[in-house]
Symmetry: C2
């Protein structure tokens, strides 16, 4: 019997698709396929991972500790260039900036997003943990549901649209308490929780955590908001190297107001460590 | 009887001290006094307000919606220059970047902090509010305590050091539940709550909110951590124009681990509106 291929950190779909090619010092090229898109636009968390890799190459430290991105216009499949700048290098922390550009019809670079980030060495952090936050109260993974488990839509329910291309790259198993939206019965609570991993079984690492915080369905769906909820800004703190195995992502929205909402995400690893925290500001189109 | 001077937005100590002088297009000068310092370093939230003002002048939109700062080295009293860049202008949102520099002995510019921010028009936002977060459970302001109310230190308590210079610019009345640290009895809970305003009575505005989220004593004090807790990165979302009168600032730390902690701040105005949310990553020196 042929051995199933086991993707590993460094040898996986995510690694191949988020890799950048150095063109010059601080300048990196990438060609985006449609594989990591949602409704035609390349996913923001995946883009953050791409720029994160470029910065890891440009800076003397390799792990993002805190990384903020402002999303200017949607990134589409096609060629792109990342231009980085070293802002400051220190003994334990370095800071850098990165911009992603694509090309208009004249070949002029159009900036899609800009990132500011501070990097360090997660493996060098002391292992004292005084976290008072607790993992989300969620069922085990085999009692959570992915796309493949979806029942036929109930009468009057939101029509089941084709899953976004990115969904095939991911293993997402939603907490039953946060999938009412998929059955035409949004809970009215700004919550979304799921077990998360990569479809080929690759273990998590700091860069896949940047993807994880922006890969679940929007909390807006449970709030009965339809349509696109574009991210304006996303800041992620990566606090520890994640243990192997799927992570739990728990997202909360408490301030839907004035046409914007925040999504607060926590990522918990298999060792019950709070490995990443993020907040994004997203625009909501009501009505 | 002479009328007491009533500071207003635009005519107050905070406005005068956070104002920048345009030198060239996108370039602004400021001279920092010692008035807004803590232990000799200029306060990070005040600095964010200064850069925020420069960006408001440089961008076509005037209100910070989401603003992220990476702090590189401490800013000291003395001259400084802010250099801004317009990243993108849109119909409802614009994005800009700003750096703060000071001068070394040769007059070379040394970057102190860099900011990335997206601006809009808060007054133009629709007034639908679906906030599910609730204001912090705190006593009324006359049952909270400021510096002037401090009793003599108890035997064995942390010695009362001179209050930082910035304290004289501010009206901070701490929730009694979060001032155990000042009496030698830290609660062990990562919480800090206070009523907040400016000492001269000026009402809040988006820029003073940037100060408010970084002006309280560190939650680390209640966690029994002594010493400086420098901010690495701070992201603030300003979600609404604040109503007049003091605000309530509620800060929480849930992930003290590996030599870092996060501080999540919420700012509630007198109309019970959640007007700002922030998160900072700070470094902790344990032991």
């Amino acid at each position: 019997m042929a051995q199933a291929f086991q993707a590993t950190v460094g040898d996986s779909e995510f690694d191949r698709d988020s890799a950048v090619t150095r063109r010059d010092a601080g300048v990196y090229d990438i060609e985006f396929s449609a594989d990591w898109t949602i409704f035609g636009a390349v996913n923001g968390g995946y883009l953050l991972a791409v720029l994160g890799r470029a910065l890891a190459d440009a800076l003397p430290h390799s792990d993002p500790f805190t990384i903020s991105a402002h999303y200017l216009t949607a990134t589409l499949p096609g060629p792109a260039v990342v231009r980085t700048e070293v802002v400051r290098t220190g003994r334990t922390l370095s800071t850098g900036q990165a911009s992603l550009f694509q090309y208009d019809e004249q070949g002029t670079e159009i900036e899609r997003m800009r990132v500011l980030a501070s990097y360090g060495d997660l493996a060098a952090l002391p292992d004292d943990v005084h976290t008072t936050a607790v993992p989300p109260d969620m069922p085990p993974i085999d009692q959570c549901f992915g796309r493949q488990d979806a029942p036929p839509p109930a009468p009057g329910a939101r029509p089941v649209s084709d899953p976004p291309a990115i969904a095939e790259r991911l293993m997402i198993k939603l907490d039953p308490a946060t999938l009412g939206w998929a059955l035409g019965q949004p809970s009215g609570k700004g919550e979304m929780r799921a077990w998360f991993g990569l479809a080929d079984g690759r273990d998590p690492d700091p860069f896949s955590l940047l993807l994880a915080v922006d890969a679940l369905p929007p909390t807006a769906f449970e709030l009965g908001v339809k349509g696109w909820v574009p991210t304006v800004e996303l800041t992620v703190h990566v606090r520890a190297l994640p243990a192997p195995g799927p992570v739990r992502v728990s997202i909360t929205t408490r301030n839907l107001a004035g046409g914007y909402l925040e999504e607060d995400a926590e990522v918990w690893d298999s060792a019950d460590r709070l490995v990443a925290q993020s907040r994004q500001l997203a625009r909501v189109r009501l009505g």
